[in-house]
């Protein structure tokens, strides 16, 4: 087990390095104009551009440029050239908000996906199965930024049923207000993933219910509930949990750009969206890196967890 963990962490470091090279290529190699000009944002002065060029090493060889980018991203001194804000500070400010959103949305998508998937698989091709399927397709198809903004306006601003947006800290408004402000955005994000997961769970649960060990369990005279929950569902959930782990990492890494923006949560994703508006490169670079780290680390954790649960993987 220890050997597996060391190997897995080693490959994680390699992937992290490769991803950082990819991000470097995206921002410093692909664009055909002067990277210093782009970095400077809209309407820079020539002296600013010159300073950025020296600062980031754009007049130096590619390897030096890469090292500079990594240093700048991780030493906490990365600064937006559009509004002079410290990028790392802003990400840190947004993180609790994004974390809270991730907490509730991941909970909703997990529960919703499992419940709907079970509903479909236990009575295949029934009315409820078809209803779940229709719900899933709709969830996958609706653009979150559209449903989100309409919900925030019609249910929030107009009807006053839910808060129109914004984030309330626990220390300010208590746990209830904190939850209440995160409810609608979490549901909006989950709709998409519930759609995906319910289909995955349905398919895998149907397969599991046909497996030999389920027949054995039934032959032993176990109750239907016990057979489904303890025997079939446990095995059927593994592929879904893998997807879920990744999606949690993505939401955490700023992937909920659209929802955070529409509900004015001002988390990491909203900061990203704000930076895109002004084509502000340093925050976009930092958040892309941050999101990639979240995914790569989560991937490694999920693999290690599986290796612990299922010894065959360690081989």
């Amino acid at each position: 087990m220890i050997g597996f963990i060391i190997r897995r962490l080693g490959s994680m470091v390699l992937v992290l390095f490769a991803v950082s090279v990819l991000i470097f290529v995206i921002f410093n190699v692909i664009p055909s104009n002067d990277p210093a000009v782009r970095m400077a944002g809209k309407n820079p002065t020539p002296t600013q551009i010159e300073a950025i060029r020296r600062d980031w090493g754009f007049d130096k060889p590619v390897t030096t440029q890469y090292v500079r980018m990594i240093e700048k991203t991780f030493n906490g001194e990365l600064i937006s050239y559009s509004n002079r804000q410290n990028v790392t500070e802003r990400i840190k400010e947004g993180l609790p908000r994004t974390l809270s959103l991730t907490f509730f949305s991941s909970l909703f998508m997990l529960l919703g996906g499992i419940l709907l998937g079970m509903l479909g698989a236990l009575k295949p091709n029934s009315k409820s199965d078809r209803a779940v399927n229709a719900f899933a397709v709709t969830g996958i198809s609706l653009p979150v930024f559209w449903t989100g903004s309409l919900a925030s306006y019609y249910l929030g601003s107009k009807a006053g049923v839910i808060p129109a947006g914004g984030y309330v800290e626990i220390s300010e408004g208590g746990v209830l207000q904190w939850f209440w402000h995160l409810l609608a955005p979490s549901i909006v994000i989950s709709l998409l993933f519930i759609g995906i997961y319910s289909r995955v769970v349905r398919g895998d649960l149907l397969d599991a219910l046909r497996a030999d060990y389920v027949r054995t369990a039934e032959a032993k005279g176990l109750s239907r509930r016990r057979v489904v929950v303890r025997h079939a569902l446990r095995n059927a959930l593994i592929p879904m949990i893998t997807l879920w782990g990744l999606d949690v990492a993505i939401t955490l890494g700023g992937g909920a750009v659209l929802t955070e923006t529409v509900f004015d949560l001002d988390g990491v994703g909203a900061y990203l969206a704000e930076s895109v508006q002004t084509l502000d490169v340093p925050p976009v670079l930092a958040i892309t890196m941050f999101g990639a780290i979240a995914v790569v680390v989560m991937n490694a954790l999920v693999d290690i967890l599986y290796a612990y649960l299922d010894p065959r993987i360690r081989l």
């Binding site: 991803v19 055909s32 782009r38 198809s141 653009p143 750009v257 895109v276 976009v284 892309t288």
Partner: protein, 349 residues
């Protein structure tokens, strides 16, 4: 993956195995089987109809602009007045509220904050969205098939290199990758050596979306090719001295038809969604060009006074994506009832 060897149901008509295979539903041909399935289900018929309306009206954008609305997608009518129910009405009122739907030739669906005709912009925006999505989908399917085919067929170090590359691309959340590429290229454009695209070119979002989605095609295709290459008909061809190029062309490629036809509508639907999301954020289509996502983001600025600017383009977008997904479901059930293709995709994720 081992799952790919369960492909027993996959050989398509026109495939080299067709001659002595027993006559079954696969014999009618992929396209015909898909077409039959679409025709015989109400979901299929309805979504096909919706897509025809959306695509047709987007294609007819210049007709509407020139012959009905008599204005273009970029023309401002900020200080104009039009005759409505016999009265002269401001297109955009003093306090900046644009006119709502008039249901007559000009400003059929009202104007936006700049006094531009929403109907005309919506039609041209749909044209851009669909055009970008079509190019991106073809690119995704092409790139993904190429990488998956090469990796699965040659295996060994080629497979390792390609699979690791896909791992790395997939390590960055897809929406962040799209945004990063969009921001990096919005000002300077892209120089691919042979071709150059300016920053506001519609080809840039198409290239970006085509690239970021390729993983979703390359992985399942790789898994399926890994299974196909062990099948007896490939061995037969190899024992007759066929070269790798010939085996790929004559034996493998024809058998990828089912997978590609299953993947195409789903990828198309995702592409339309990503295009809208990127343009909504400002990392896709650049101003003054329109696209569904761009129009929605412009509409949100005046949501309170003119909600139709957000509601209508969003509804068109949602209907398009929903129809594509439904169509994808119908086609998949008809030509890949065991869900082999999507299983291959899921395993590889």
């Amino acid at each position: 993956m081992a799952e790919a060897t369960q492909l027993a149901g996959a050989p398509s008509a026109g495939a080299p195995v067709g001659a002595d295979a027993p006559p079954d539903s696969a014999q009618v041909g992929l396209w015909r089987a898909a077409w039959r399935a679409i025709r015989s289900s109400w979901a299929g018929r309805l979504s096909l109809l919706a897509l025809i309306v959306v695509v047709g009206s987007s294609l007819a954008a210049p007709l509407w602009a020139n012959h009905v609305a008599h204005t273009g997608p970029f023309s401002n009518h900020l200080s104009d007045q039009i005759r409505l129910h016999g009265q002269l009405t401001d297109v955009v009122s003093f306090d900046g509220v644009p006119i709502g739907p008039t249901f007559q030739g000009r400003f059929f669906l009202g104007a936006d904050g700049n006094g531009r005709d929403i109907m005309v912009r919506l039609l041209y925006g749909g044209r851009n969205s669909l055009q970008i999505s079509l190019v991106a989908t073809i690119l995704t399917l092409g790139l993904g098939t190429l990488l998956g085919l090469v990796a699965g067929f040659f295996r060994g170090w080629v497979d390792s290199v390609i699979s690791r590359f896909l791992d790395i691309v997939q390590s960055t959340p897809i929406i962040l990758l799209g945004i990063a590429l969009g921001v990096a290229t919005a000002l300077g454009g892209v120089n691919l050596g042979i071709v150059k695209f300016a920053g506001d070119s519609l080809m840039i979002p198409a290239l970006i979306i085509g690239f970021i989605q390729m993983v979703y095609v390359a992985r399942p295709i790789r898994g399926i090719v890994l299974g196909l290459r062990e099948r007896p008909f490939v061995e037969a061809a190899r024992s007759q001295g066929a070269t790798s190029a010939r085996i790929i062309r004559r034996e493998i490629l024809p058998n990828l038809g089912t997978s590609l036809l299953v993947l195409a509508p789903i990828i198309f639907a995702q592409t339309v969604s990503y295009e809208a999301a990127l343009s909504f954020l400002g990392a896709g289509v650049q101003a003054p060009n329109a696209s569904w996502g761009k129009i929605i983001s412009e509409g949100l600025d005046v949501l309170i006074s003119a909600p139709h600017l957000t509601v209508i383009p969003g509804a068109v977008l949602a209907v398009t994506v929903l129809s594509l997904n439904l169509l994808g479901d119908v086609v998949r059930e008809a030509i890949d009832p065991r869900g082999t293709v999507l299983a291959a995709q899921k395993d590889e994720r």
